[in-house]
């Protein structure tokens, strides 16, 4: 029994994937759907998170591949919260997600398209955000040629 226990432990430890760090994670309650069975891929994906914080809608952009992060996030001129210095490439590649405005989202999508044309995009929006915000994000993706993308949902049966 102990042997099997260790075997399972090793298996789960090796298959576990940790969420990349986020300064200020958004609380997103996913919309519910029945028909979707495709799983979200975990490599080569860019995710636009749209969540509510109080009455404000907050948009963040996350990349799954760490090597793509530094070149894509660079044009945002991010600075360290404490020291105010610009972030280095190494620090940028550690950042799981970055907060973006409507205008900087377009910059980031454009950079991401140039950096990795094989990348797929997904919209991870809270069920209570307005359609208008999601529509704007979809238009931004469409503008830079990412016309096939995914909307992340939660399966009804699992709720």
């Amino acid at each position: 029994m102990v042997d099997v226990g260790f075997l399972l432990l090793t298996f789960f430890m090796l298959t576990a994937k940790f969420k990349p760090q986020s300064d200020d994670p958004l609380q997103i309650s996913l919309p519910v759907a029945q028909a979707d069975t495709t799983k979200l891929p975990d490599a080569n994906i860019g995710i636009v998170n749209i969540g509510m914080r109080g009455a404000d809608t907050v948009i963040t952009f996350a990349l799954s591949n760490d090597k793509d992060r530094a070149p894509v996030y660079k044009p945002l001129n991010l600075t360290d919260v404490k020291t105010g210095k610009p972030l280095t490439d190494a620090e940028l590649s550690m950042k799981g997600d970055v907060r973006v405005s409507k205008a900087s989202l377009e910059t980031v999508i454009q950079q991401a398209r140039l950096q990795n044309p094989a990348m797929r995009y997904a919209i991870n929006a809270d069920s209570s955000v307005s359609f208008g915000t999601v529509d704007d994000v979809m238009h931004a993706l469409q503008k830079y040629g990412a016309t096939r993308f995914n909307l992340i949902t939660m399966n009804k049966e699992k709720m």
Binding site: V2, A16, A33, T37, F131, G132, L141, N150
Partner: protein
Amino acid sequence: MAEVVQSGGSRKKKGVKRMARVGVRMDMTPMVDVAFLLLTFFMLATTLLTPQVMEISLPPDSKIPVQIAESNLLTLRIRKDQIVFWNIGNEPPQKIAEREVPKVMKEWLMKNPKLSTLIKIDRDAKYQTLIDMVDDLNVTQGDLHQTEKRFSLVAMDDKDHELVSNL
């Protein structure tokens, strides 16, 4: 012969080993406890993250108009207050309860497999309604074994607001 010799030799060795290990006993309980604790943690932490995805394709350029026969177009309009209106072609929009939507979709998709669905949503409506509409369509098409997905998503314009505001 050989067997006898072998067995004698091994017995001797066993005896020696047993002598050396007398009194060495390791308590493995704490280690096993920790291992199972970690196992439980990893099991719980991994199974929780399983999001599904809904596939959406947009035309590469929204400025190029797509010609479509009036009779092949089912329009669903969703007002700010989440009330759904439907119509075929240029007919006047009719109010419908949200759970009746799949019924209408099924009825018209069975009549006309070439039907395209246009989903027009008010910019202030909830994102969940978009998912509901596309999901209903996916479920209906799945039931009818239609694999080709024909739908488009747009925000409502002033004309649409005018059409459904007084209904």
